[in-house]
């Protein structure tokens, strides 16, 4: 037990470094303050949304539907996130050799890694479930006995089943990719296929959920069948039942144990196969190509090669862009059907003219949402890891290094956004001036996202990591950047709703362009002043 405790402590120590900063109180407060502020903001937003949902359902005494919906969608998000986290969090860990050489059972190593995964998902899930519970306390007809005990147990157990599903799917992905020569490319492709399948499945659940809302009498039973933890939580929030709670706890323990047992069968085989492929000595007799590039091109090439060699990075950054392309294709091909849905008097009931006269503003909204949800730069500094010393010892200024990181991000996002723009311009016959402004905005808006991400990563670097998923998905930097992205998305949506139909599209686009030029300039100046100072401080 002592051994297990030491192992958990060692594995968690680097992740908890944020709370162990040995500097003055002011500095410590500024380091911890921002993540806490954003956590609070995220929880507050969830609370607001939960209240809005409860307000709709309370008159029909169906508050438990809100609970099950939030639990269900939080779990789906955990599964989706978990699928591509698993392949990095459980496999290809840097400490493999060290841990395997120690007198520890292999199953214990696997258990600790899954436990670490669980603890992060627990924090993530809590940010959704705690505000839900607080909102429920306000709207519940009657708070059942032992509600707080039930809530604590539910918060602690809700991540278990999604993690189990992610671990199994992640294990299958790693197993498949470990058998191929180009395992990283295979891993990226298979992960994307799985993610699309999960999203497709959850998209098709919409009809079932609609059915559930309309058939309130049998809802609880159906929810439980649809997703057991959601149904149990909804049921226990209305009436406490010790037997149900005990069965639920046992189910979770069994699921967790079975997951470890199943993974343990092939976990170390897959891990060693993944490693053996990379360490196999390749006989390559091709002629040595010595070529000269400019400093800037060479830096961008290096950044791109890092990007392309990191499946979790590609999936994380590229998924939004892939969804953007899918959206562009659907809008282009099926616009008439979409229009029918949007103008349907029983549905969204939007005026047809409003849509047709403001297509450029709609494109602007699509570009904004994609840009703010595509966060690439927030891990570019951390991913350097120990190689940061190489960069710092080279005869190039920090400004040039940071510029190259921003340029790389633009190099990844701009072609896709611009291509989508052009397709939509042709489809909707956008006026030339509006088209030019939209093209400009397709560079200016993602630039904000890239600058913000880089500034945050410089403030919260994580250079010492066991695997890349820790940096890309679980670092303070990625959390803050994604939260800011979500806020900016919501803000864009709100502002577009406020001005659409009231202001000419050309004026909206012109003002937006001007605003983004100013924001980009301010952020770039900040990066050059404060960011460079932070870069110089980086050390490992």
């Amino acid at each position: 037990m002592k051994k297990l405790y030491s192992l958990i402590k060692a594995c968690m120590s680097s992740d908890m470094s944020l709370f162990k900063i040995k500097t003055n109180k002011k500095s410590k407060l500024s380091k911890i303050g921002l993540p806490l502020l954003f956590s609070f903001f995220l929880m507050f937003t969830i609370w607001v949304y939960a209240n809005a949902l409860f307000e709709q359902f309370t008159p029909f005494h169906l508050q438990f539907i809100v609970i099950s919906l939030v639990v269900f969608f939080t779990s789906i998000m955990t599964i989706v996130e978990g699928i591509y986290k698993t392949s990095s969090l459980l496999y290809n860990c840097k400490d493999d050799q060290l841990l395997l050489s120690l007198p520890i059972k292999k199953r214990t190593i696997l258990f600790v890694r899954i436990l670490k995964f669980y603890l992060f998902e627990l924090i993530y899930n809590s940010m959704f479930i705690i505000p839900l519970i607080i909102a429920y306390l306000r709207w519940a007809d009657k708070i059942p006995e032992h509600f707080f005990l039930t809530s604590i147990i539910m918060i602690l157990t809700l991540p278990i089943i999604p993690i189990a599903i992610s671990c199994i799917i992640g294990g299958i992905i790693s197993n498949i990719s470990s058998r191929f020569k180009h395992k990283k490319i295979t891993q990226t492709i298979v992960s994307i296929i799985f993610l699309v399948l999960v999203l497709y499945a959850s998209y098709n659940l919409e009809n079932i959920i609609n059915y559930l809302v309309k058939n309130a009498s049998s809802i609880n039973d159906i929810i439980t069948k649809l997703y057991y933890p959601a149904g149990i939580f909804a049921s226990l929030a209305v009436k406490f039942n010790l037997t149900d709670l005990l069965i639920y706890i046992i189910v979770n323990i069994v699921v967790f144990t079975i997951t470890i047992y199943l993974l343990n069968i092939s976990y170390f085989k897959i891990n060693s196969r993944l490693k053996s492929i990379t360490t196999v000595k390749k006989v390559n007799n091709n002629k040595i190509v010595i070529r000269k590039n400019s400093i800037n091109n060479s830096l961008i090439k290096k950044e791109l090669s890092t990007f392309l060699e990191t499946p979790v990075f590609i999936i994380n950054a590229g998924f939004g862009l892939v969804l953007y392309l899918i959206a562009v294709i659907i809008i282009t091909i099926k616009f008439d059907s979409l229009l029918k849905v949007l103008v349907d008097p029983n549905g969204l009931n939007i005026k047809k003219e409003l849509i047709l006269n403001n297509t450029s503003v709609m494109i602007l909204l699509l570009v904004s949402v994609t840009s703010f949800m595509t966060s690439i730069s927030n891990s570019l500094i951390s991913l350097e890891g120990k190689n940061i010393n190489i960069l710092k010892s080279l005869p190039i200024s920090p400004k040039r290094i940071l510029d190259s990181k921003i340029n790389t991000c633009l190099f990844i996002t701009s072609p896709i956004l611009l291509l989508g723009d052009i397709v939509l311009f042709i489809r909707f016959k956008i006026k030339i001036l509006e088209a030019i402004l939209l093209l400009l905005l397709s560079i200016l808006i993602p630039l904000v996202s890239h600058l913000v991400g880089l500034i945050i990563n410089l403030k919260y670097p994580k250079l010492d990591y066991e695997n890349q998923a820790e940096v890309i998905k679980q670092s303070t930097s990625s959390f803050i950047s994604v939260t800011i992205g979500m806020i900016l998305c919501a803000l864009s949506y709100y502002l577009v709703l406020k001005v659409i139909g009231k202001v000419q599209p050309l004026l909206i686009l012109s003002v937006t362009t001007l605003v983004f030029i100013i924001i980009d300039l301010i952020l770039y100046l900040y990066l050059n002043k404060v960011g460079i100072k932070e870069f110089k401080k980086l050390s490992i």
């Binding site: 010595i290 000269k292 091109n297 080279l394």
Partner: protein, 235 residues
């Protein structure tokens, strides 16, 4: 010429380097020795511009690393204690990347890369990705990339760790040749007998403080460097 002037570097309240001053002249092979944690790597990282320091200055060929870092780094090459590279890259791409950063001409890099790859017996392995290499092979790639741009000053942190005997011999030959060309070689090491034979000057650091610095003859006198080092450590 490298001038270390009253350099102090703190980690929190602890002084990793405490008011260290010495100079390294052109044509010197300078050994920097001390026990583990004495401050060798910290000072080396300060010289090559990886670390900032709290006070003092480091002057490289008349220019301060604090105010003119790029110009200082342009004439230096750094070989770290662990061969840190971009492991997903092919070795040749990594070397090309480093040469690009130093703006090395195509002719110079063609000449030097082939020359040093042959010396270190790596020419048929340059098209492999670095993650397939052993520790020693990675170290050789770092050495090739450091030497490919003809640095005037070569700074190395424990350069012989992990290298095979032939590579150690070859690197010693290369260093001797560099010194004949009036270049500077500054390196930290624990292998004292190699330092004794190879180096013209030596500095010994203990708990961040420079306790001895001078020509090899002055420092060791009739004793071996190992004996002098052990005596100083015991004080």
């Amino acid at each position: 010429m490298i001038e270390i002037k009253n350099v102090t570097k703190k980690y929190g309240d602890k002084k990793a380097i405490d008011d260290v001053s010495f100079t390294v002249d052109d044509g010197d092979i300078f050994a920097f020795i001390g026990h583990n944690g004495a401050g060798k790597t910290t000072l080396i990282k300060s010289i090559v511009g990886i670390h900032d320091f709290d006070s003092g200055d480091i002057i490289i060929d008349g220019k301060s690393i604090k105010t003119d870092a790029v110009a200082c780094k342009k004439i230096m090459a750094y070989v770290p204690d662990n061969p840190e590279t971009y492991e997903h890259m092919k070795a040749i791409d990594y070397i090309n990347f480093i040469c690009d950063m130093y703006e090395v001409s195509k002719e110079t890099r063609e000449k030097n890369i082939i020359k040093y790859a042959k010396i270190f017996e790596m020419e048929d392995k340059l098209n492999d990705t670095i993650d397939s290499y052993s520790h020693g092979m990675k170290q050789k790639i770092v050495l090739i990339s450091a030497l490919a741009h003809d640095p005037k000053i070569l700074i190395m942190d424990e350069p012989f760790v992990g290298l095979d005997p032939k590579a150690v011999f070859d690197i010693k030959e290369i260093l001797n040749k560099m010194v004949k060309e009036k270049k500077i070689v500054f390196y930290s090491t624990h292998i004292l007998d190699v330092a004794e034979k190879l180096c013209s000057r030596v500095a010994i650091i203990k708990n961040g403080k420079l306790i001895k610095s001078g020509s090899m003859k002055e420092i060791k006198g009739d004793k071996s460097l190992e004996k002098v080092f052990m005596e100083l450590e015991d004080k």
